[in-house]
Structures are given as C-alpha cells and as structure tokens.
C-alpha cells in the first residue's frame, strides 16, 4: 500500500513543534484540524486555547484562536458563542486548567448546556510548569509536588471531572478516549467528530477527555508512556462514552 501524507487544511505548514517528543498534544491537534476540515468548520471556527503546554496552539491551528487566562476557557467560549452563535467554538484545555483552577467555569458552562465543545487533555500532571501534581494525578504517582507519590491523606484523590459533568442534563455528549495506539487515535478522532457534530446540530455541550502521554514529566519513554496509559491510567479513568443525550426530544 502506498502511504500518502495529507496535510490538514487547518494545520499551519512549515512550523516546528514546541511539544516534547512523544507528547499527546500534537496528535490531538492534528485530529482536531482533520475534523475541522471534514466537517467544513475551519472558516467559522474559534479555538479558545489554555494556559498550559497548548498555550501556543495558535502556532499550529490555522483558524482564529483566542488565548484564555488559566482555567477560564469555557467562560470565554461562552461569551464568544453567545455573542455570535453562528461561530463554531471549542476550548482546548489541560487537566490543571480545566479541573483545578477552572473547575467552576467547567461545571457551570456544562450545567448551562452551552453549545460549545471542550477538548480536554488529561496527562495527569501540570506539564507546562514542570510536572507538578494535578487534580488528575493518580494515587502513588510521583510528581514534583508529590515526591513520595500522591497520598490521599494529604493530597486527596484523582478528580473525575468528566464523570461529574456527564451527570448534568445540560451535557449532550461526554466521552473518554486515549491516544496511545493507532486504534485509540482513530477512536479519538471519531469522538471529536461526534462532539463537533453535536454543536453543529445545535444540541449543546460536549466534552472529550483524552488520556494523553507526557513522557517528559512522567519520566518515561514514549513507548512506556503508552503502556502506562493502558495498564495504569485507564484503570483509574476508564475509556468509553460517559453521556450521550443526542436523542432526547
């Protein structure tokens, strides 16, 4: 079979990535760009990028992008979408951004059922600031601020924010996926497509949580990271559809 390298229309050319080797962000960026093209959304899309490793997302996405203060993505997305409902609006956020400092915005935008999409990168650490503990850090997982491993007595438990918002009637679609194998990547693309279609159909809020490797701060090889997602991380955060209310009347 002959492989063809098809460059997504809404992914900038001739840029070198700032993401670390083996990082999941780049993979998810590409999937988002492909779906924007396939659903013909790029011309009217606005991405709200986070404070986090993806703060430079506008270097890659060839669509209009607005940066958010740390955690405020879904509030900004709410403002954009309410002001201009004809735009297609999605946030792209890390786990510190979305489920620590931005928890209130996440929960309330979901509860209002804003017609926006959330692409949520769960890498179980704060990547950008150097690998501190995140709300999603697993028990016993070592980070720079849980040097002895996350201990629930002091640090609490991994926060399942997507499972929380999946309970809300305002949330139309919620799914947890991963990007640690070719099959998983395809599934992730399908999930993003479903979520984006939900907004196009005016059906409300959707969130796709992606278990995504951070080899740098996990201090693992890329391959070991992929295995860790399979064997450890996805045991704490099981993959699958968490809410699907597309068919309600």
């Amino acid at each position: 079979m002959k492989l063809k390298n098809k460059w997504p229309k809404y992914y900038k050319k001739d840029v070198s990535t700032h993401y670390c080797p083996g990082c999941g962000h780049g993979v998810v960026h590409r999937l988002v760009a492909e779906v924007l093209e396939e659903l013909d959304l790029g011309k009217r899309a606005i991405c709200v990028n986070p404070a986090g490793c993806a703060v430079l997302a506008y270097k890659y996405f060839d669509i209009d992008v607005i940066e958010s203060a740390h955690g405020r993505g879904t509030a900004i997305a709410t403002g954009v979408k309410r002001a201009k409902p004809e735009l297609f609006v999605f946030t792209y956020q890390g786990d510190g951004d979305l489920s620590a400092i931005g928890t209130a915005e996440t929960i309330h935008s979901a509860n209002r059922g804003e017609n926006i999409c959330v692409v949520f990168i769960n890498n179980a650490v704060y990547g950008m600031t150097g690998g501190q503990m995140a709300p999603t850090t697993l028990l016993t997982q070592k980070t720079t601020t849980s040097p002895g491993g996350r201990d629930p007595q002091f640090d609490g438990y991994p926060l399942h924010i997507t499972d929380v918002v999946a309970q809300f009637p305002g949330v139309t679609y919620a799914e947890r996926v991963a990007v640690n194998s070719p099959a998983a990547v395809l599934k992730t693309k399908k999930a993003i497509r479903t979520a984006f279609q939900v907004q196009v159909d005016g059906l409300g809020y959707s969130i796709i949580e992606v278990l995504s490797p951070c080899p740098t701060n996990w201090k693992m090889s890329s391959i070991a990271s992929h295995k860790w997602i399979d064997e450890v991380m996805s045991k704490e955060f099981p993959l699958g559809v968490l809410a699907d209310r597309r068919k309600r009347g």
């Binding site: 809404y10 790029g42 011309k43 009217r44 899309a45 606005i46 709200v48 703060v55 430079l56 506008y58 996405f61 060839d62 669509i63 209009d64 992008v65 607005i66 940066e67 958010s68 203060a69 405020r72 509030a75 900004i76 997305a77 709410t78 403002g79 954009v80 979408k81 309410r82 002001a83 201009k84 735009l87 297609f88 209130a104 915005e105 929960i107 309330h108 209002r112």
Partner: protein
C-alpha cells in the same frame, strides 16, 4: 426621549442598551444588583445576551469572549467582585479589547459593608490588575451623568480598544433622579480586528503571551503611547465657582455633590470656595489643578476614603500649594454641614496665614 425618573443602577443598564451594548455578564452583589436585574429583562428583550455568571471571574471572561467578536459588552459589580475581575481586566488591556466595567463601590477592605464608599480609587486608576497598563475611569456624580458617561465609556473603549471603568458608589447606584437618555444606537462600526472566524482570509489570534522580551517591550510601549493619547484627549472635569475662589475643593462623585452643597452654604457668608470635580479620574485633570494651585491659597480634598485621590492632587501641584485632606471612609456619608465646617476652618486658617 422624555425625562424619566430612574435609579443610577437602572440608568447604567438603560444607557448601555442604548449605546448598542449587546452582551451583559454579571454576578449579584449589593449595592448594584438592580443593574443586573434591569439587564436580565431588558437586554434580552432588545435581542441581546444576559448571563448571570457563576462568579465575577467568569463574568469578565465571558465579556472577553464577547468583546473579541467585536460586540459591545458590559459587566458590573461592586468592590469585592471588581477585585475578582482584575485578572480579566489585565487580559483585556493586553489583548486591546474594548469593554465597559461598572464598579458601584462599597465600604472595604474585605467584605466591608454595603454602604457607599470611594476606597477603590487606587485600584481603578492604577490599572488594578497585574502588568503595565491603565484603564480610563469615569466618575459620574448624577443619574444624568451616569447616562451620558455610560454612552461615552463605550465610545472611548472602542476608539482606543481599551477596557473602561465607570466608578460609581452605592449612593450613585441607589439614588433616583430625573434623566433624559440619548437615543438608542446600533453599534454598526466595523471592527476589523474582531475575531469572526477566518473565512476565506488568513487566520488570526489574540494572545497576551509574548515570550520574546523585545517584542513584549514593544507591546508595552505601544500600550503606553495609547495611554499618552488618552491623557492628551480625554481629560474631563467640572469647575464650579472657581474663578473668584481663594480656596478650591477637589472631590468626585457623591463627595463632589456634598461639597457643592457645602460651598453654597459658605458662599452665603462670603467665604469664597470653589470646586474642581474630576469626571475622569484617569486621566486625572492634573493640569487645571496645577494651574489653579498657582492662584489659590489652599486646596481641600474630600473623599469617602482615608485619602487616595489626594495623592494625585499632590502629584499635580508638586508642593506648590497647601493641601488639606478630609476623608470619611467605611461607608460613612458626610454631610454638607460637615464639609462646610471644614471649609470655614481652612478658609480662616489661610486668611490668618496671609496676614
């Protein structure tokens, strides 16, 4: 339009709608709740957006989103809530996005109380949030002026692409007065910087992150030049009985009204006191105050705080004239009789000094 009888809080909202404001985001806090309540019904009826947000932080960020699309937008709060908005105001300044933010001040620090105060002057006029920026600040002293300055605030915000603050206090918000509103306009100005989706053109982005230090420095100087332009063009103040005055009072908002009452009293006894009422607190009317300082014997600064604007007065006059400060912080509303007493006393003192 005919004269109507309305509270300051309602007037902020009505004037915003008439200025073409399409989105309002806010979180309840006394003494400005009537503003959001008025918006809830009226802006939606006018085809706009009202969201009662989960916090003031969320409200200012919703405003950022709406403003980024080029739509006139507003948020309002009172002191503690304005503190929460400061991060967002810093982003608005960095992004160069227009916005109108109303602060109906109350006593502080902390929760303080719900009575009128002027303790947020520093926060409003010094930028308030982090980073090297300024926000124009308007200080209305009547419901009519609330209507007029709200319209003006949207125009200034758009003209300079900057967040603008309107600094009222609990008295301004709650007080009812007759007011005539300007006609309703639609905001049809094409904002070529607004994000609307790339369409067939090039993609664009709004980012405040500028990692390259020389580029960040350029951005800072660019903002600075804009602030210089605002300082050159937008200073506004009212002078009242200043021409023959030996002593001039300086006060804004509610305090200025009380000072006017006091001046009317003391003038009956031939005590020649005038008033400069800054309408813009930043840019501050430094020049007129400096000029007046050359020919009067004393300035008296009245504030409902322990002394904030008085620092700008000192900076303006550079030691060239005596300044007396009289402040009532904590939500205490001074009376014209109280101010008149201060005027008599300071007037007599300067008289003696001149013998």
């Amino acid at each position: 339009m005919n004269k109507v009888f309305m509270s300051g809080n309602h007037a902020f909202a009505e004037a915003a709608i008439r200025a073409g404001c399409k989105c309002y985001f806010g979180y309840p806090i006394t003494p400005q709740n009537e503003l959001g309540e008025y918006m809830a019904g009226n802006i939606r009826n006018a085809g706009g957006v009202f969201i009662q947000s989960e916090s003031e932080t969320a409200a200012i960020n919703m405003l950022i989103g709406a403003s980024a699309t080029g739509v006139r937008s507003m948020t309002s709060s009172s002191s503690p809530g304005i503190s929460l908005k400061q991060e967002g105001i810093s982003f608005l300044a960095g992004f160069e996005l227009p916005a109108v933010i109303v602060n109906v001040m109350r006593g502080g620090p902390g929760l303080g109380n719900i009575a009128p105060a002027q303790g947020d002057y520093f926060q409003a006029t010094r930028g308030g949030g982090h980073g090297d920026y300024r926000t124009p600040v308007f200080a209305p002293a009547s419901v009519q002026e609330i209507a007029d300055l709200t319209r003006k605030a949207f125009d200034v915000a758009d003209k300079y692409r900057t967040p603008v603050m309107i600094l009222g206090d609990g008295m301004m918000g709650q007080m009812k007065e007759p007011v005539v509103f300007p006609d309703k306009i639609e905001d049809t100005v094409e904002k070529e910087w607004a994000l609307k989706g790339r369409g067939n053109g090039n993609s664009r982005y709004l980012a405040s992150l500028i990692l390259d230090t020389s580029e960040m420095e350029r951005h800072n100087w660019k903002l600075y030049r804009k602030y210089q332009e605002i300082e050159a063009n937008e200073v506004s103040y009212e002078s009242y009985m200043v021409d023959d005055a030996d002593v001039v009072a300086i006060a804004y908002g509610t305090t200025a009204r009380i000072a006017k009452g006091a001046i009317k009293r003391v003038r009956k006894d031939g005590i020649k006191v005038g008033l400069i009422r800054p309408i813009t607190l930043w840019p501050f009317p430094s020049k007129i105050i400096k000029d007046i300082a050359q020919r009067v014997r004393k300035l008296i600064v009245f504030e409902m705080s322990t002394g904030q604007m008085v620092e700008d007065v000192r900076l303006a006059v550079e030691g060239s004239v005596d300044i007396h400060f009289h402040g009532r912080p904590g939500g205490v509303i001074p009376t014209p009789v109280e101010f008149a007493r201060i005027m008599y006393r300071e007037y007599q003192k300067q008289k003696k000094g001149s013998l």
